[in-house]
């Protein structure tokens, strides 16, 4: 339904931008239009183009009817009114607190009677609408008024205006619950979100009876659109989450199930709150799935071994942890659950993964997550991704039903348009010899990398410095990577030692950050090493793999590059060798940095 839903943030809800869009509505006349009537005790003219533009973004044409100013009851309670002649599909009713204020000041009797009378007027309007049409009713509630007559004590006084407005909100809602087809447009939630001090523009009320500052009108209009769409069946059915730095802080493959940041207090709390939020969504009937680039055993160890974890393995209908590209995995999740890609929200802290999915699967909703995990939930709430028009017992049971049905096979399959995506990234690499200013980061990567680490030698700063100075005997390389979207910094280290006597180049270390896997960095560096070896007049490259508890993902690394295993080590590792004449140059979509920041020696 929403082809542009990949671009959720920023939400593009600028008032003037929407006015321009309304003027250039493009939806073809062939579509069936939605007939929407607007009734208000405030000005509604400014609202009309916004609704038109926002529905148009969803590919929906609108026929709009505006009732007269302050004519909600006149229109709704008269079966012969122009409103009913219009035959609306949706009736949007906007009651402003400013008009409530006027009527409150002019009340003939006691405040309690005023409140009851106001509520009766609401329900009489709804009942007439239900009798005379089949329209969906979208009713706003009251924004808490500015006026306090008693200071903080105001809300404790039953007849104060604040009390009346809040009481009405509660009783309006109670009445709504006993009826069907009436939905709340939670204006009070928007006003308190933006702040009532700026929400209210008293001048615009005086001059034109506008109930809020112009810039916030789009938020209210967007509410209406989202309620209508939810009633038309649009819903997020599944939230697919990444693991490392999304569901917890840190990298489970490197830090271990107890080393990751997670917990009800401290630096793990942002992740605790996201998991708790997701758990509530699951109880509401939204499916949860995992899509993570991880060793499967590492990924599940966090859930099995860390008792703090709020989400448990059984909370996920599908659990995918592998090294394939995420768009492929998401497509499989969508097929396996038999739900549309446009009903999937994908949460990932990594901008590369988000952009890859947006590009390859534009239907999937990919929120731009903030840098600080503490704001994850805030952003999700602001985007209002989980709008719904109902909640039933069946919803709460849904995830069990799916679990029984979903027999998901995550099979290897050819990358579809992943190559196209890689090309579009315009990735640039800078391969250089160790330099003093990069030594701290080099040492850090050597110390921290566990998964993509062939021999896991933990060199310290002075050892790295010695390699850096040994320009004859050592080829200590680091690589920095950047692309259109982000600068990944220093992401890989390869240390090699030329041995002219034996005619070989010996690779002692190969380390890479898992964040840049499957992007051709390994291929680029292997091409680079082969070229270096040839330039030095060497005919062979030899290398080792030493297994640890965490580096099984690179067990077959050298065989991928046509190396032959020549020996098994006592520690279970292997020795590999490659004759350069047998090497096939690998094709990559990475260009070298044209102006190298660091000079390559030799």
């Amino acid at each position: 339904m929403a082809a542009n839903s990949g671009v959720q943030n920023p939400r593009n809800l600028d008032y003037f931008q929407l006015l321009k869009e309304a003027g250039r509505s493009t939806t073809s006349c062939g579509h069936k239009a939605i007939r929407l009537a607007l009734l208000g005790d405030c000005a509604t003219q400014h609202f009309v183009p916004l609704l038109r533009a926002l529905f148009n973004r969803e590919g929906i044409r609108t026929e709009l009817y505006e009732g007269g100013f302050d004519a909600i009851e006149l229109e709704a309670r008269n079966p012969q009114s122009a409103l009913y002649a219009f035959q609306p599909d949706v009736v949007v009713i906007m009651n402003s607190v400013q008009m409530l204020r006027d009527k409150y000041y002019q009340r003939p009797g006691v405040p309690g009677a005023f409140q009851e009378d106001t509520l009766r007027r609401f329900t009489a309007v709804w009942d007439s609408l239900c009798t005379n049409s089949r329209a969906l009713i979208i009713q706003s509630n009251y924004v808490t008024p500015l006026e306090r007559f008693f200071g903080n004590y105001d809300y404790q006084v039953p007849g104060s205006m604040v009390s009346i407005a809040r009481q009405l909100n509660t009783t309006i809602l109670e009445e709504m619950r006993t009826r069907t087809g009436i939905f709340l447009n939670d204006m009070e939630a928007i006003a308190s979100w933006v702040g009532r001090k700026t929400w209210f523009d008293e001048r615009l009320w005086c001059i034109g009876k506008l109930f809020c500052a112009l810039e916030y009108l789009p938020l209210v209009a967007n509410n209406v659109v989202e309620i209508v769409l939810a009633n038309a069946g649009r819903a997020v059915k599944c939230v697919v989450v990444d693991l490392d730095n999304t569901l917890w802080g840190g990298v489970v493959g490197d830090d271990g199930p107890h080393g990751i940041q997670f917990g009800a207090h401290g630096d793990g709390e942002p992740f605790y709150r996201l998991q708790s939020f997701l758990k509530e969504l699951k109880k509401r009937g939204v499916l949860l799935a995992v899509c993570s680039k991880n060793e499967h055993s590492n990924a599940i160890s966090a859930f099995h071994e860390n008792p703090e974890m709020v989400l448990k393995m059984e909370d996920f209908t599908v659990f995918v942890a592998n090294w394939d590209n995420k768009a492929q995995n998401l497509r499989k999740i969508s097929d396996g659950l038999n739900i549309g890609l446009d009903s999937i929200v994908f949460l990932d802290d990594n901008p590369f993964e988000r952009n890859a999915v947006r590009m390859m699967l534009p239907e999937v909703i990919v929120p731009e997550l903030p840098e600080d995990a503490a704001d994850y939930v805030k952003v999700l709430v602001e985007l209002n991704l989980f709008e719904t028009a109902s909640f039933s017992k069946e919803d709460a049971l849904r995830s069990e039903l799916y679990e029984q049905k979903a027999q998901l096979r995550i099979a290897e399959s050819a990358a579809s348009n992943f190559e196209e995506f890689l090309k579009s990234l315009e990735t640039i690499i800078d391969v250089s010899h160790f330099v003093p200013e990069q030594l701290p980061r080099i040492v850090q990567l050597l110390q921290r990398s566990n998964q993509f680490n062939l021999t896991t030698n933990r060199y310290n700063q002075s050892q790295c410095e010695a390699m850096m100075i040994d320009t004859e005997g050592c080829l200590p390389l680091f690589a920095r990577l950047k692309d259109r979207f982000s600068d990944h910094g220093l992401i890989s280290i390869v240390i090699a030692w030329p041995n002219p006597a034996a005619g070989t180049l010996v690779i002692s270390d190969w380390v890479m950050s898992c964040r840049v896997l499957k992007r051709g960095v390994e291929e680029y560096l292997m091409n680079y090493l082969v070229e270096e070896a040839r330039r030095m007049g060497l005919g062979m490259i030899t290398a080792s793999y030493i297994p640890t508890a965490k580096n099984s993902m690179v067990k077959e690394f050298y065989s991928r590059f046509d190396f032959t295993m020549v020996a098994t080590r006592r520690d279970g590792g292997n020795e590999w060798q490659l004759r350069l004449e047998e090497y096939r140059q690998r094709s990559v979509f990475i260009r070298p940095e044209e102006q190298q920041m660091y000079t390559t020696l030799g």
């Binding site: 008032y15 003037f16 006015l19 321009k20 005086c206 034109g208």
Partner: protein, 79 residues
């Protein structure tokens, strides 16, 4: 009219009325501009406030008669 103010004002008018050819004179008022009604007037006022980072009072908004008065008022409000 201060030239810089006039230029920024023209730009804002053209934007709000979606008319790139709109020419303003000091005497220009609602009568001469197509689409200038009470609705677009509020749009115009809010757009001008945002362009010049100023704020009009209710009385000023209701009293303004033409572009010349508007430009003078802006000039007085700018620091």
């Amino acid at each position: 009219m201060d030239n810089l103010i006039a230029e920024r004002l023209s730009r804002t008018f053209r934007f709000v009325f979606d008319d790139p050819g709109l020419e303003l004179k000091r005497s220009t008022s609602a009568k001469e501009v197509e689409g200038w009604d009470s609705l677009t007037y509020i749009n115009l006022i809010v757009a001008i406030e945002s362009e010049f980072r100023i704020r009009f009072t209710t009385a000023e908004i209701t009293a303004l008669q033409n572009v010349g008065e508007l430009a003078d008022l802006i000039g007085r409000k700018l620091p």
